[in-house]
């Protein structure tokens, strides 16, 4: 795999150099190495001489697409994993970005990121929107063969066991909000956690409030979560924060046959309706 990622890195650097050289973009958002650590960290390249800093590997854990929201009216290019291209689609569908200001360098056939359990059940491993692509595409068969059901054991538990599982997980939550800040589709001006009128929940880290926080955050993920694992990777306490949002992802697909972020014109699940939607779980 080492050579494969080396090849992708070279291609990215070439494209980046060309884009900056021709002045097509002012800034490239990509992955790079820290100066004092060999962790992969986001880098913002403005000067074409520094494109050699750009790279891609299976250690590229941070999620870049959300940074685009800080450059709404600048010409920016971004190296995007397939899940990041879905986030970009979500932004475009909610017209937060102008497509013409954006150049997307899609990573084809993403083999998954180290330590990210979402990549084990990823069902979109090729970019859904891009201007350039690097790496070899994965066929649909290959993609579906790589899917494993990460939350199978959780689904088979009865409600009581699941409740205890979540309580043990959320007990460690310190309300640092890294999951919310890392999540590509979590960008409200004022989050429900910060509003005291209306008052939704306490700001303490007792289990009652952390459980409520994750429940309330996850209901906002209905039809928006793209199951990318950014929340899980950001959590400093290694809490399984993705479990509830991934359920929203699966429920949206099973009940309403809906996959978020697949194309720029797509409306979000709860922003539209179908006259004969299923009424699963309603009283008869």
């Amino acid at each position: 795999m080492e050579a494969y990622y080396k090849e992708i890195t070279d291609k990215i650097q070439k494209i980046a150099y060309k884009l900056l050289d021709e002045g097509k973009v002012d800034k490239i958002i990509g992955f790079g190495k820290g100066e004092f650590t060999d962790e992969v960290t986001p880098v913002f390249i403005v000067n074409k001489e520094n494109v050699d800093k750009l790279l891609f590997s299976e250690k590229a854990t941070p999620f870049l697409a959300k940074y685009l929201l800080n450059y709404k009216d600048e010409k920016v290019a971004i190296t995007a994993k397939p899940c990041e291209t879905r986030a970009i689609n979500s932004y475009l569908s909610e017209n937060l970005l102008q497509r013409e200001n954006l150049i997307i360098i899609g990573i084809n056939g993403c083999r998954g990121i180290e330590g990210n359990t979402a990549c084990k059940e990823c069902d979109v491993r090729n970019p859904v929107i891009s201007d350039y692509t690097v790496g070899e595409e994965l066929s649909d068969e290959e993609v579906s063969s790589m899917i494993t059901n990460v939350y199978e054991d959780l689904e088979n538990m009865n409600p009581e066991e699941r409740n205890e599982y979540f309580q043990n997980e959320f007990e460690r939550c310190t309300r640092c909000y890294a999951c919310r800040e890392a999540c590509p589709v979590c960008y409200c001006e004022e989050c429900f956690t910060d509003s005291n009128q209306p008052f939704w929940l306490d700001s303490s880290t007792q289990l009652k409030d952390t459980f409520t926080f994750h429940l309330m955050r996850s209901i906002h993920m209905a039809g928006r979560c793209i199951n990318c694992g950014a929340c899980e990777m950001a959590c400093p306490e290694n809490i399984d924060v993705r479990a509830l949002s991934a359920k929203m992802y699966r429920a949206g697909e099973e009940i309403f046959d809906y996959k978020p972020g697949m194309d720029p014109e797509q409306k979000t699940l709860l922003a539209e309706y179908d006259v004969n939607d299923q009424e699963k779980g309603f009283l008869d």
């Binding site: 009581e160 007792q206 039809g223």
Partner: protein, 161 residues
Amino acid sequence: MNNNENFEPKIVAYLCNWCSYAAADLAGSSRTQYPPNIRVIRVPCSGRIDPLLLIRAFNFGADGVLVSGCHPGDCHYLDGNYYARRRFVMLKELMTFAGIEEQRVNFTWCSASEGSRFGVVVKKVVDRVKEVGPWQGFDNKGFIGVDSSEEEGELTGGSIL
């Protein structure tokens, strides 16, 4: 110990002003008997209900929630209940997955003329919540609850005195 007979659940009921609230009115005026456990909150439309309201209700002492709106198709605001329907389906999926007993979260449609049906619905909701006992809070380790797949329906799980 904790017998379920004299447990009177507190249920927060969001009733849409044009249909279900009118149904409750009709039930009252036509003397249909239904248990007094619901605390009615009148809302313009079932589409007005923010799922956070239902989650928050459990932190403010509710044992169960009920949302009742107009039947799909005759919403006073045309499609308020259509939007609400998807929202509630997803909320129910989330809460049952998180381990909250599904009997505590109830959604239904009740038109203005269905006074007697409203009484039946409330009775059914109260029984369903009585089945699972008082709400122990999101922070109880193991709770008294009946898993709907249990036949004999006796209490399971760690008991909380």
